[in-house]
Subunit: 266 residues, 6 copies
């Protein structure tokens, strides 16, 4: 069976730079996968992507054999299982605030007797081979989002759910939950300390940690703290920022340039 | 009727920074339109976009009321008329190498008696108002691509086709046509001179000029030469370059950061 | 931030004529938005529309800046949050029969501390501006459907859920729930009285009221009773009725006309 | 093989009321087909519809077994043959102005030795049976649009192309071609006389006649003149007119109704 | 109202051969429906199909008037009701393990007072007639999947839920639940006996039985045991097996044939 | 640059078994690619596939790195260039009947100075590497369909067009062109001899030969004659035949089996 490179990097203590795919078309996903990300996560929660487009995006990503995951819209077994069957190597599930929610999530990702995932890995078996099914429980990554005060209060009980591999810190929701504005790359001391507490507690329990960041430098700081899976913005925002930069550069020079041009004899 | 801002800028001697949309989804187009471009051209020739997606992209772009044009796949009346009916403010037509080709192109964009465009501006009338149809011949921009040695040889006969508003220089094809590698932002003297010859001849005949560029600085140089419509790369390439930069920055720092992280007591 | 015109009309005591969009294509939605409705609601429950098409329809509607809402398929946080992120100014949620269901629905529409909506208003911020997020809790309309006897029995406890803005009466389900045929524009006394009871009780609690109707005259009667948000049929049914009328008119005259025609010398 | 009911009606001297489908979704097409039209033509020229959506629309229409045709974007063999293979019972081809254009069009619709249609009726054979192919040349309707002065000047040479079954009059383009505004239901004497001339000449040569109309009464007048295939507006316009009527009726009554409502004690 | 042929066959003691549609396109569904299946079930759980494609597939299937059902992704009222409104004659619901789950499922399929299905059968009424709604509770088939040990333990309490029509045995999940590999066409004695127990118990309670099989011979054995609804593989797997056979046959003969060819004088 | 395995096999004198993809969805294409075909050709002429779906199908096929080609709808430069840019390793062009048609086709596939292909291989460069463009003229296969008597009459002048790599024999159109029924796997002596004449003449000029077949045994016979590229049916037909076989097998056994079942005590 093909290696799950995310898991290998986790085990080796390395750090993954994860692309965040929100543009709902397989071609954008293929271009994105061609850009060197260690993994790509399709964002079906805040990204404008539903199942059918996500499936096509997975095909675009697979042309580069980039490891692909999905963040599902909510902790709902139907969509979790569909995304695993479609070949996702892992699921990021939003808003895991209690042990019961975490058990429901992890159970949806694991075949019996570990969980209650239904059998029928149509595309996953086609992509990863006939030994996908017997190995899937150790192959697919379960990544619970820790992004509320309630989740922090219940942290150890969440982290000790059997079958949980990793957590993913959502800094905007976390900040908001503590009464601060919903910002990426938090610098508010209480949030910074909370993030450290989450990371240290997770690592103590052998749980890998990922985080959503907006800036590479901030992301690298997080790697130093033990976070091994860093997302920087997303395709939609990267496109917009790059576009705005071009427009700004052009406009700052265009008036002068046009004036010179129209000075001609025409 | 709503103003065609591209035309206004042309007449005022200003310069337009044009976004080039190749990602075939209305959401990417809307994000792109939200980035400040003066106009956006949907690339149906080398971009992986066909009519139905282009229509949806036009809707995404229209939410920002950004002026939208299309580069059609080829000089074929069916698709040219469909894109005008869909609300494009102008058509960029590839590979106009002879006066006859230019006449066929321009004729497809103009209602009788100026041309042979068929009547039925379903979406254009809805967007621009009931006075669209009687004014369309003066409202929609015809932009012929000059991108071969043959076109340069026939330049004056092309430029003097009644109803032609503008030309668009394709530097990669032009370079290749003269026996050089197909590069953007050409620096080969023969191509540089040819571009200048094209610009000067066009302006002499009152024809506006656009050009595809890869770098803002190069584009601004072209504005100084009298080019009023500059494209820089396209959404697909902007996304890829921005992604590659993030990945590169992260990877250059990640090994160090990971090493520090794994030094912990976990 | 752009005004939520539905809310403004509610506050001013006015009445809204709401279009009901069930045809799953952005072009039909754009044509529909071009027809003068005060607002348009995309029906994802009984309309054959899922998320991806709904997103494209929102773009079609936004070209006219018509305020857009969605009726979600069911009281499920994933789709409610996705539609808000996509730029809906309000959510109509079917089958709110108990206070707990209403709390779950309203909570999904409100950021903390009012609710548990997750942060990531990708398109909403793009459309309405960066001040969308801090103002969203007062900007987005929560509209619970009251359409069963159980809901009527629990009416006051539903209406007093903090953060509920409005209710929407579903007359067909309501009638059926009381043992009558599922009809629009009910005239059965028990249902008429129940509707009046719902309206009066809602208004007493400062909750705005909407209702699904089939006939304009009936809708205007409802406005007199204090209902401020009236839907008449939907795009699918309007198209069908208009088509049937054309066919009927033609067929009633065609036999005669054909007979005259074939009397010719051909 | 299933009967081509359009052809049967033509032969019996009857008149067909034809629906014009421009909303690019199979569900709208199915609703439209459910409204009683004798036939439905998918408008791929001025309607925002390309091949893939047209195929799906044909499936929606086929659920009612309504005879379906397509107006193609232009006189181009690729799309003509694709639409026949997809199961269209006839093709309306725009802008047939010369005998050569008509021969090219008709040839694309006929298998050898009558024409040059390529063999591969994948869906047509599935829908109409294995005897589709040997009978297709007598089964599929060729309908050339007569909509320019040039076409009228060449009328007899066009009408006598072997294999041409019918013509379709485009009054807007025809009017424009003669220097009048592009209007449906023309009343300008020159155009009215031209239409009569076209109808009479066609019928003299055994060619059936269709026409695009905006009003049923006008269409019935045309039937009296010998036109056997009448289109009234299209789904897009029918939807918009019906919507505008509802909005107008509501708004004229709403102010009064609201005033009464807000007089209450709330 | 049109007959529900599946129900008729159930009542007559006959056996249905059911096609399993997983290829997410209306054209494949139409081809599949053209192949003679007694019914077709769209697999939205393990098949890569979501609502919008399923709707289009239903239209493709309806061109043949083949009875269509759907297996929904999970026991969730929103999607169950949407698929019934879209015209499914029955719903197969996965993972019904308890009486409460079965009640929730059946209730979502039945209008009051039998259940809590919301009224709005947009496409179902269009396809089956205006008498669809009053008869739907006796017309639409509820089919609960029995596929875990837990379900077997709760079998009688599940089977006696009022309004349940049928069950569908999922042998792969069932085997896995008992600790065996997830295989179709089980031969492990414990599973074989469990299947027999399920069938006999269901028939005792007047509940019809269906089963997913991989081989026709096995399926016919199941019919002998009283199972009346047999699925064999699915379109995706049938396509793959047929393709592999062609490739294998060709490759086994190609080397020899090529050798002969290249022996020529060329 | 990645090897074009089709070309390598051609040069080595081997034979290719080519899959023919007509089901318009990327998932079917991926399943098809997973079945072992040496190459897959997307049929955009008689297959119900247009550009956007073809692009997605190419992505599905690329997940297996199966060499992919397209048969375009017609000899039109716009679609030919779009399919090459999308990453097709070759183009099969229908109805090449004259040297001029062949020159137009080949020219559209070759960059200057060999042809007039426009530069912009967006996806092809991404898939095959930056050295795609300079090598494309020797890398992409041009395959002209020989399928009419006119083409046979002009055979040598077609075969000697510089840049033509291969021909593809369409037996149904060829048979029809000679006055026989349009059948695959022709046995009519005149057609058999014509095929042999085509093959021998092509091989004499160093042109590779492909052919559309319906049966493997017939295809292997063709390989013996020197044909190196054999298509057997297509995905749509393979699916239908496989389905019909299952239905037939089941139905022949079901009556007996049902009778036994209903003999029980239930």
């Amino acid at each position: 069976m093909r290696e799950n490179k995310i898991l290998t990097t986790f085990k080796n203590g390395g750090a993954i730079i994860n692309g965040w795919a929100q543009l709902p078309t397989s071609f954008a996903a293929e271009v994105f996968a061609n850009s060197g990300w260690d993994s790509i996560t399709i964002d079906m929660q805040h990204g404008p992507v539903d199942y059918q487009r996500a499936l096509e995006m997975l095909q675009g990503i697979e042309t580069e054999q980039t490891p692909a995951m999905a963040r599902v819209p909510w902790n709902e077994p139907g969509i979790i299982m569909k995304m695993l069957d479609a070949g996702c190597l892992g699921i990021i599930c939003p808003m895991i605030n209690t042990r019961a929610q975490c058990e429901a999530f992890v159970g949806a990702c694991r075949y019996p007797p570990m969980g209650y995932r239904s059998f029928g890995p149509l595309r996953a078996s086609m992509i990863y081979g006939d030994d996908y099914a017997p190995n899937a429980n150790n192959f697919c990554i379960t990544m619970a989002m820790i992004e509320t005060k309630e989740a922090v209060d219940n942290l150890e009980s969440i982290l000790t759910v059997p079958g949980l591999d990793a957590i993913y810190i959502g800094p905007a929701d976390l900040s908001q939950s503590y009464g601060y504005p919903p910002k990426a790359d938090p610098t508010v001391p209480q949030i910074v300390e909370t993030v450290e507490y989450i990371v240290n507690t997770a690592r103590k329990h052998g749980i890998y940690v990922g985080m959503h960041c907006a800036d590479v430098a901030y992301g690298l700081e997080m790697v130093k703290k033990g976070i091994q899976f860093i997302t920087i913005l997303g395709d939609s925002r990267l496109l917009q920022v790059a576009s705005m930069n071009v427009v700004k550069q052009f406009k700052s020079g265009a008036a002068t340039a046009s004036a010179q041009a129209s000075g001609g004899p025409y």
